[in-house]
């Protein structure tokens, strides 16, 4: 009986992975299409599938590294510093990611300020807004 349960669990994990792979494949396809039209060069279907496969595999490395970086810093929540560490191998990559990080932080700051102002304008008697599902940034 135990074996059957394990078998079923394996099946579930496998089909879950397949769904994730399909989602990655879709996004990879969209990105490749943009590159293709910009560079006026077509990708074969196999190439897109291969890039998709590599990307999916790379996520495993990224995830494990991120988890270890956070744990090394005695945190259980992965933050943007951990992501920047991931990008350390290439100077231009690190620079790009650092800039993106600042863009994101800036954008979120402005968005929060807008939200806050909107809330203040709408509610004279303010009610606490519900907590978002995603963990709030520590930065």
């Amino acid at each position: 009986m135990m074996e059957e349960e394990e078998g079923a669990e394996e099946q579930q994990r496998f089909s879950y992975q397949q769904r994730l792979k399909a989602a990655v494949h879709y996004t990879v396809g969209c990105l490749c299409e943009e590159v293709a039209s910009d560079k006026e060069m077509q990708f074969s279907k196999q190439t897109i599938a291969a890039i998709s496969e590599v990307t999916f595999q790379q996520c495993e490395n990224f995830a494990k590294d991120l988890e270890m970086f956070a744990r090394h810093a005695k945190r259980s929540t992965i933050n943007t510093e951990d992501v920047k560490l991931l990008a350390r191998r290439s100077n231009s990559l690190l620079k790009y990611i650092t800039e993106k990080n600042e863009d994101i932080a800036q954008f979120n700051l402005e968005r929060k300020a807008k939200k806050k102002k909107k809330l203040e304008d709408e509610n004279k008697n303010s009610v606490e807004p519900a907590e978002a599902g995603v963990v709030e940034s520590e930065n």
């Binding site: 994730l20 299409e33 196999q46 996520c59 992965i78 990008a87 932080a105």
Partner: protein, 79 residues
Amino acid sequence: MEEIGAGFRKELVSKLLHLHFKDDKTKVSGDALQLMAELLKIFVVEAAIRSVRQAQAEDLAQVGVEQLEKVLPQLLLDF
């Protein structure tokens, strides 16, 4: 290439990462998810662009797996 419209959704990135975490308690901040989405996007775009350059250097009309295979080692080293 300037603006790239497509990208990885935060939800998808989150699921991809959580698939491989060893510890149940590990979480990812919202900003980190957004940044990871950027990183993944760049990874794919680099793979695509470098493969295109390889195909152009070989005077080909289409990018095939052979071209990707040639650029993959350096790509993985850069990431």
